[in-house]
């Protein structure tokens, strides 16, 4: 099994196989770019094709590690951790707009390594080694224009920053956050898996029966606060914290330099063009909706945000101001 024979294949699913051994299912994707679009959206279309339903390949994670070891990979310039619904996708879109930065956005196979059942009974050392392999696989060189790779995490992966740091020591990371009420209204408008009670063990460390007893707004505020607390616990400081109102300018002025990315005028023009469009609906022009979100907040959202999320938000702001 040579690494080259997996060129063009992406490990899109990590699962526990029938014999109890974790495996990766690889799907053909060719040389299509990762441009900051959510990983699931990018790979779904190719996974749905008959070719991949017949010819998908399966390897063990040990085999995946061997393929990663032999791969020619882009330097990983940085990790984008975030609170959710706070502008992190915009950051990815802008960096990817340069054409020189690959942005892998919320890759499911990375997350699977951190969750049950793949993670069950696996020590941190093995998990960080598997993470390193998966990140290397997703950073393999496929486009001569690309010079660096940035990974945007799922929000709940902030709690696993230590494992990512162990997997790729010295990789710079930032944490993006936003006004508590605005983030909570976004989740109220469009619920996320992050708020699913079934995930209460992973997000809040509590059983599902206990989670059911928590009012929804309080539950959401506590989950979001847990992401922010995790960033602080991992050493978030002025150099690593980015608040939503700093965007999009902070991408050029703070984030690219922090990630060691040198921008030329063409990059800046491309990035500013990307900033004008809606990050998650690229066909639409972006218009800020902060005021609308605050106006839409229910008393329950305002109360829960003030009690459970605002305190850690204020600490993030204080740390960001230095």
């Amino acid at each position: 099994m040579s690494a080259a024979s997996f060129d063009g294949w992406i490990p899109a699913i990590v699962r526990v196989g029938e014999d109890g051994i974790p495996v990766a299912d690889w799907y053909w994707r060719g040389r299509a770019r990762f441009d900051g679009t959510a990983f699931a959206d990018m790979v779904q279309q190719s996974m749905a094709r008959p070719f991949n339903q017949l010819f998908a390949r399966t390897t063990t994670l040990d085999e995946l590690e061997a393929i990663a070891d032999a791969a020619d990979v882009l330097p990983v310039a940085g990790f984008v951790a975030h609170e959710s619904r706070c502008g992190s996708t915009l950051i990815g879109r802008m960096l990817a707009a340069t054409g020189r930065v690959r942005v892998v956005n919320e890759a499911g196979p990375v997350d699977a390594l951190l969750r049950s059942p793949v993670r069950d009974g696996v020590d941190d050392q093995t998990t960080s080694r598997r993470l390193q392999a998966m990140l290397r696989i997703l950073a393999r060189r496929t486009d001569a224009r690309e010079t660096a790779c940035v990974f945007k995490f799922d929000a709940w992966q902030t709690a696993s920053l230590d494992l990512f740091e162990r997997a790729m020591p010295g990789t710079p990371w930032i944490f993006v956050y936003r006004d508590p009420v605005e983030v909570m209204v976004s989740h109220a408008r469009l619920p996320s898996y992050l708020m699913a009670i079934a995930n209460s063990r992973a997000t809040l460390g509590i059983d599902i029966t206990e989670a059911y007893r928590i009012p929804p707004a309080e539950y959401a505020a506590r989950v979001l606060a847990s992401f922010c607390e995790a960033a602080i616990a991992r050493g978030a400081d002025a150099s690593r914290l980015v608040e939503y109102p700093e965007l999009p300018e902070a991408v050029e002025k703070r984030i690219a330099p922090a990630f060691g990315l040198t921008l030329d005028e063409a990059d800046r023009i491309a990035m500013r063009g990307a900033a004008e469009m809606h990050a998650k609906r690229p066909g639409e022009r972006y218009a800020t909706d902060s005021e609308g979100k605050r106006a839409e907040a229910t008393p329950e959202i305002r109360d829960a945000a003030a009690r459970f999320l605002a305190p850690v938000y204020e600490r993030l702001c204080a740390l960001r101001r230095g």
Binding site: S46, P50, F51, L54
Partner: protein
């Protein structure tokens, strides 16, 4: 599932960029199966249309279990 036959077919397809592009682009399942059966016959690979439909169905189930909402 006739795994060895499918592996062999994959190898043949991956060695031919034009064939790979054509089969990857095919979204119509019956047309895809017909093309793969023709390829198998051309290379004397013993696999039936039923085998292919069965393998496709299992591949689809695997994908849906993990990814579909």
């Amino acid at each position: 599932m006739p795994r060895a036959e499918i592996d062999r077919l994959r190898e043949i397809i991956l060695s031919d960029d034009a064939l790979l592009a054509e089969l990857f682009a095919e979204r119509n399942q019956p047309a895809f199966v017909a093309s793969v059966i023709a390829l198998a016959r051309e290379h004397d690979i013993a696999i039936t249309e039923m085998d292919l439909w069965d393998a496709l169905s299992k591949g689809r189930a695997n994908w849906l279990q993990t990814w579909a909402p």
